[in-house]
C-alpha cells in the first residue's frame, strides 16, 4: 500500500488547532506570540498555557504539534529566540521549525532529543544545502520553498536522507522565501526580521464610494473596483504603473492548490504536505483540512480525480482570482 504524506495544517489559535485535529490533520504547526515566527500579527498565536493545552489535545489523539521559530534572530536580541526554543522543548513540541543557522546549532546542541525541521524560510532549494544542514544540525525534515518544479522536487528527494515537506495549499508569496525584504522599502520591517510583512499598523484601507484603496505606510499599493476580489495588502501583490501599464508587476494574488498533482507528490516520495495560513480563522482551517484530508485519503487509489466539491470548497477560501500549481508545473521547462 502507498504511504500517504502527512497533512500539516496551520493554527494561529487554540480553536484553530483543535479544528485542525478534529478534521484530520496529522500535525498542526503553531507559533509563539512574538517576533520569532513569520506570522507575528496582533492577537495571533499562542500563550504557553494555550500551547500546552493544544499539545495535550493533539498528542492524546495521536497527532503532532510543530512550533515555528523561523525568523532570523536580530542582533542583540538572540536571547528571545533561544528562550523560545527552550520553551518549545519544555512544552514537549514534536518538532520545531527553524531557518537561522545559529539557532539550528543552538537547538541541536542544547536539545539533542528535539526534532528539527528546516523552515521554508531557510531557503534550501537543493539537496546539497539540505544534506549540509542534516550533517551539521541533524535536521529530520526540510520544507521546500515554493520555487521548484515537480521533477526538481523529485531530484531533491532522491538525493537526501532528509524528509521533504512541500506546500499543498494557500496564499503564495513572492517566491524569494527567506530572502524577501520587499516590505522593508515601505515599512522598515520584513518577515525575516520582524516576523511579518505588511505589519497591520502600517496598513490602511479607505473606501471612496465603491472603490477600495489599500495603502502601506501611506503608499497606495492597490485599488479595487466594486466587486473586484481583494487580496492581502503586501507589496509583492500590489498593482504598479510600469511603462504606462498598471498591473500586478511582481506577483498575482493567487492561491496554490496541488489537488490535481497529489498522486505525483505521493509517487515521488513527499513526506508531508503543508497548508499555508496561520493568520486565518478556524473556519478556514476546518474547510481546508477537511478537503485535503478527503483528497489525500483517496489520492493513492487508482482512478483518483479531483472532486468538484473539493475545488468549490477551496475556491471559496482562496485569496485572489484563481488557483495555480505555482512552480510545480512549468510545462515549458
Amino acid at each position: 500500500m502507498t504511504r500517504l504524506p502527512q497533512l500539516i495544517c496551520p493554527a494561529g489559535s487554540l480553536p484553530a488547532l483543535k479544528t485542525a485535529v478534529d478534521n484530520g490533520a496529522d500535525a498542526v504547526y503553531t507559533g509563539f506570540k512574538n517576533a520569532t515566527n513569520a506570522r507575528n500579527f496582533a492577537g495571533l498565536n499562542f500563550t504557553d498555557t494555550q500551547l500546552a493545552e493544544g499539545i495535550r489535545y493533539a498528542q492524546s489523539r495521536g497527532r503532532e504539534v510543530l512550533i515555528a521559530i523561523n525568523t532570523f534572530a536580530q542582533a542583540g536580541r538572540l536571547a528571545e529566540w533561544r528562550a523560545s526554543i527552550d520553551r518549545a522543548a519544555d512544552l514537549g513540541a514534536d518538532a520545531i521549525i527553524l531557518a537561522d543557522m545559529g539557532l539550528l546549532a543552538y537547538a541541536h546542541k542544547t536539545h539533542p532529543q528535539l526534532k528539527l525541521h528546516l523552515s521554508v524560510q531557510g531557503s534550501a532549494t537543493n539537496f546539497e544545502a539540505i544534506n549540509l544542514a542534516h550533517e551539521c544540525f541533524g535536521i529530520r525534515r526540510a520544507v521546500l520553498p515554493r520555487v521548484l518544479t515537480l521533477p526538481q522536487v523529485e531530484y531533491v528527494i532522491k538525493n537526501t536522507p532528509v524528509e521533504i515537506e512541500t506546500f499543498g495549499f494557500g496564499s503564495l508569496c513572492v517566491m524569494a522565501e527567506g530572502r524577501c525584504i520587499l516590505s522593508s522599502y515601505a515599512t522598515g520591517q520584513s518577515p525575516n526580521t520582524h516576523g511579518v510583512c505588511s505589519p497591520a499598523a502600517f496598513v490602511r484601507w479607505d473606501n471612496q464610494g465603491k472603490i477600495m484603496n489599500a495603502r502601506l505606510n501611506g503608499i497606495l499599493i492597490d485599488r479595487f473596483d466594486e466587486g473586484e476580489p481583494a487580496g492581502y495588502p503586501t507589496l509583492c501583490k500590489g498593482r504598479f504603473a510600469v511603462q504606462g501599464e498598471t498591473y500586478y508587476a511582481l506577483e498575482e494574488p493567487v492561491s496554490l492548490n496541488v489537488l490535481s498533482i497529489l498522486p505525483e507528490l505521493i509517487r515521488i516520495g513527499v513526506t508531508a504536505i503543508k497548508v499555508e495560513g496561520r493568520q486565518r480563522s478556524p473556519a478556514y482551517v476546518s474547510e481546508v483540512t477537511k478537503t485535503l484530508r478527503a483528497a489525500l485519503d483517496t489520492a493513492g487509489d487508482e482512478g483518483y480525480a479531483v472532486k468538484p466539491e473539493w475545488s468549490t470548497a477551496l475556491d471559496k477560501v482562496s485569496e485572489g482570482h484563481q488557483q495555480t500549481l505555482g512552480a510545480y508545473s512549468r510545462p515549458w521547462k
Binding site: 500579527f41 499598523a201 490602511r204 473606501n207 481583494a230 478556524p282 485569496e319
Partner: protein
C-alpha cells in the same frame, strides 16, 4: 438572515446608544469567563464601530482600562458587513479573510486594532456563549 422590511425600516431609525450599551454590558459579563488573561490594553481609549451596512446602523464600543463602555463617534476603526454576514462570522461558517477577499467585509481606520479584535474572537471558544442564548433566539440564528 435579512430583517423583514418593516423591522428594517424601524431599525434604520433607532438610536445606536442602547444596543452599544447592551453589547458593552454583555462583554463586561463575559470577560472573566472568556478572556481572563487579556488586559485589552490595545483597545483602551480606542473606539471600535461595528457597522451593519444594510441597515446603516451600528454599535460603538470602547474599553476604559477597567470595563467596556458604549462610545461616541468618530471611531478609530470601523468594520462594515451586512447583518447576515455578521451572523455567518459569529457562527464561524466563513472566515473574515474570505469575506474580506470577497468584499463583503470592510475595515477602515486603525487596521491593527481591527486585527487584534479579529484574532481575539478567533482564539475564543464561543460554544459556551451560544449555550447561554435562549433556545428560540439560538434557533433563529441557526445555532
Amino acid at each position: 438572515m435579512k430583517l423583514p422590511a418593516p423591522l428594517a425600516f424601524i431599525a434604520r431609525r433607532l438610536p445606536e446608544a442602547p444596543p452599544s450599551f447592551a453589547l458593552a454590558t454583555a462583554l463586561n459579563l463575559a470577560r472573566p469567563k472568556f478572556w481572563p488573561e487579556e488586559d485589552f490594553a490595545w483597545l483602551t481609549g480606542k473606539t471600535v464601530r461595528l457597522l451593519v451596512s444594510d441597515l446603516d446602523r451600528g454599535v460603538n464600543l470602547t474599553f476604559d482600562g477597567q470595563r467596556f463602555r458604549s462610545a461616541s463617534l468618530p471611531a478609530d476603526v470601523t468594520f462594515g458587513a451586512s447583518l447576515e454576514d455578521y451572523l455567518i462570522l459569529a457562527r464561524r461558517q466563513e472566515d473574515p479573510d474570505t469575506l474580506f477577499f470577497q468584499r463583503r467585509l470592510t475595515i477602515e481606520g486603525d487596521t491593527e486594532i481591527g486585527l487584534a479584535l479579529k484574532n481575539l474572537l478567533d482564539s475564543t471558544d464561543l460554544a459556551p456563549l451560544f449555550a447561554l442564548l435562549p433556545r428560540p433566539l439560538a434557533a433563529r440564528f441557526g445555532l
